[in-house]
Amino acid sequence: MSKSGINWYKYAAPVNFYPLAGKMLPWFTGLTIALFIAGLYLSFFVAPVDFQQGHSYRIIFIHVPAAWMGMFLYVLLAIYAGLGWAFNARLGSMMATAIAPTGAIFTFISLVTGSLWGKPAWGVYWVWDARMTSTLILMFLYIGFISLQSSIEDTRRADRAGAVLALVGVINVPIIYFSVQWWNTLHQGATIRIANKPTMAPTMLAAMLVLLAACWIYSIAVVLARVRCIIKERESEAPWLAESVASA
């Protein structure tokens, strides 16, 4: 085993992760603000008017990033919860608990902005189409995860119960993603695919990707801040750890 280099495993302990997260937080906060400003500028002043939808298409610049964040964060949550459960790694479970509110808010944003886009684009605020219905289910899964964890007194039992719910629900995310291919449904198909060229104008794509990066960095910042709170709250259950956290 090499004696030089960083021992990354030490950061799996909450008491070591706490100060690392604290040092990372200001950088991610600053980057979030910069990316949002750049992304909003691109969205309103650089991206052109759409031939069919006029200005109403600009909702895409927050609707798509929010939808992606809701889905990605749920998968991350499930992975962390699973790791926390399988390896009895408390920080993993704490990360899942920290991610949940952020993922829920992005999913809610994607539902609301989608609805507000649906009215000018399709004439209706809501239909029970495949993608919208499965995204609504994702919303319920997030709410269920948060409620379930807060309803159980013992933190380790709450972690395990949440992990079961998260892992059972994770099948919903590929359903949301593939729903537009599998079913003949109203919501439009994927504009951005891994193998093919995107069908969007480059300036529109750039604005969307910058705002997607902004949402990612924002999520990291908020989750880091929240997991620090959770570490402090939980480790105060063990006074000897509380002292090291307090002095970190």
């Binding site: 600009r58 507000l116 908020v222 801040a225 402090k232 105060s236 509380a242």
Partner: protein, 54 residues
């Protein structure tokens, strides 16, 4: 916004208001956690703060 103002500005407003609320809630949670930690260390009188268990 070519007549679509309500939909476009409504969407952006909902987004940023919700994100702002989230940030405020995390900051409040951080303060409550710090306050509770000081109370349990005996540095604060328990009666002078709300013990929050969120």
């Amino acid at each position: 916004m070519g007549g679509y103002g309500f939909y476009v500005w409504g969407s952006y407003a909902v987004t940023f208001v919700l994100l702002a609320i989230e940030v405020v809630m995390v900051i409040k949670r951080k303060r409550a956690t710090a306050r509770n930690a000081r109370v349990s260390e005996g540095k604060l009188d328990a009666g002078s703060s709300k013990l929050e268990t969120v």
